[in-house]
């Protein structure tokens, strides 16, 4: 197996693990973290696809896309964290139905 395949496989695994985390981890902060992990998996798959066996040089387009993706991910994370904080610290108690299930 060459490097691109190994890291592509890792990207697929990370996406699976991250998605599971979003679905099954009860705590919102951990869900946000899991989205970031899944995103990293997507980035790995993209960059791995940029590194083909015979191509002499590396395709820069996926790398540029991933660079953009990292910056967009951090802004989305900041937004999600502020929303979570609002939820966690708001004085009004949450309804039982709105509580994340453990």
């Amino acid at each position: 197996m060459m490097a691109a395949q190994i890291y592509g496989l890792a990207g697929a695994l990370l996406f699976g693990v991250g998605l599971s985390g979003v679905c099954f981890c009860p705590h919102p902060l951990r869900k946000i973290l899991a989205v970031n992990l899944a995103g990293s998996g997507v980035f790995l798959m993209l960059v791995a696809s940029a590194r083909r066996q015979t191509a002499e040089s590396i395709d820069p387009i996926p790398q540029a896309l991933v660079l953009t993706g990292i910056v967009v991910a951090v802004s989305a994370t900041a937004m999600a964290l502020v929303l979570y904080r609002r939820l966690a610290t708001s004085a009004a108690p949450l309804d039982e139905a709105e509580r994340p299930r453990g």
Binding site: M1, M2, Q5, Y7, G8, A10, A12, L13, L14, G16, V17, L19, S20, C23, F24, C25, P26, R30, L33, A34, L37, S40, F43, L44, M45, V47, A48, S49, A50, R51, R52, Q53, T54, A55, S57, P60, I61, Q63, A64, L65, V66, L67, I70, V71, A73, V74, S75, A78, M79, L81, V82, Y84, R85, R86, T89, A91, P93, R99, R101, G102
Partner: protein, 340 residues
């Protein structure tokens, strides 16, 4: 040599997946976030192995550094307050009641999921990862050359780093819209910071302050170099901005006054990057081309101009995102609304 590298790759990949799993399953949220930061650092090594050095620079500063700081900030601000309203990281109605974060047990029993949920977790991960890897692995092995070759067009871009050429010339629309996304995030986060209180100025301690005196000038120097080098080597506006932002976050943490979007000079800096980008874009129309069409002989200087202004702007945006998660007045806003 290759077999050694393959072993290295395999070990690195296993480490990454193991850290990711542990970050999701460990009971203590603080440990979980620290593991996420470590994950970002291992991912940075992976980018280096994939020869994506531009991505590695951004990952080290943003993916691992800034995202980790945002998460830790939020955790510090919400810990304890939420315990009676939201379920903490252990399953509600589980065997142990409300294990506090500091006394979190280690070892296999520290898993934060119930056994039934854990089965769902593993099943979902496998069901998603297996079909995905069946697509990705053959694709990474394929001999097909990329359909669009950047190399032929590279001399027309004005820069010699292909990633910078894609970001600021060939796919400049993507980058422009990305700056808009960042802007939207800052605006969304900023109402929380409007009635900002001053930071306590004695948090850092003497060691951090002495370290910062040495470190901050170095940060500025490295950022300037990364920005300048971006036209011909890995680097560029986003990486430089991330490094500057990381330095600024250190400054804020050690007691410096954070920038506020209410002050005019910060507002000017905030919009300057986007304004310069749009100005250069429109200048393409004036010259007789299309929006964002950048051609030599001006392409090189124009790209450097956009990148220089964008660096300051992006660094400020990232710092404001950090600040948005680190202030107390969210609670003020919330409690005010309730008392009304």
């Amino acid at each position: 040599m290759t077999i050694r590298l393959q072993i290295f790759d395999a070990v690195l990949v296993l480490t990454m997946v193991a850290i990711a799993l542990r970050a999701l399953l460990i009971r203590d949220l603080f440990q979980s976030i620290v593991l996420f930061i470590v994950f970002g650092l291992t991912l940075t090594i992976a980018w280096c192995r994939l020869e994506a050095l531009d991505v590695a620079l951004a990952e080290a500063a943003i993916g691992a550094g800034l995202t980790g700081a945002l998460l830790l900030n939020t955790l510090a601000a919400t810990r304890g307050r939420e315990a009676d309203r939201l379920t903490e990281n252990e399953p509600r109605g589980g065997r142990e009641q409300a294990v506090t974060a500091t006394s979190a047990p280690t070892g296999p029993s520290a898993i934060s999921l119930r056994p039934t949920t854990a089965i769902g977790f593993v099943a979902t991960a496998i069901l998603v990862a297996v079909p995905l890897s069946m697509v990705v692995v053959p694709f990474a092995r394929s001999n097909e050359a990329p359909r669009i070759s950047i190399e032929q067009a590279l001399p027309e871009s004005g820069v010699t780093n292909p990633v910078t050429a894609v970001l600021l010339n060939f796919r400049a629309y993507d980058t422009l819209l990305e700056v808009f996304v960042l802007f939207a995030a800052v605006i969304a986060v900023s109402p929380a910071t409007l009635s900002a209180r001053e930071y306590p100025t004695d948090i850092g301690g003497p060691v951090l302050r002495a370290f910062i005196r040495f470190f901050i000038p170095l940060t500025v120097l490295v950022a300037a170099y990364v920005l300048w080098a971006g036209t011909k080597a890995p680097g560029g506006a986003f990486q430089a901005a991330a490094i500057l932002a990381a330095g600024s976050v250190l400054l804020i943490v050690s007691g410096a006054n954070p920038p506020s979007p209410e002050q005019k000079r910060w507002r000017v800096l905030l919009v300057s990057g986007l304004a310069m980008f749009l100005l250069v874009g429109w200048s393409g129309i004036v010259v007789g081309g299309q929006f964002l069409e950048i051609r030599p002989p001006w392409a090189g200087p124009l790209i450097l101009l956009i990148e220089t202004v964008l660096t300051g702007s992006l660094a400020l945006i990232l710092v404001l995102l950090f600040r948005g998660t680190s202030l107390d007045e969210l609670e003020h806003v919330a409690s005010r609304e309730v008392t009304k």
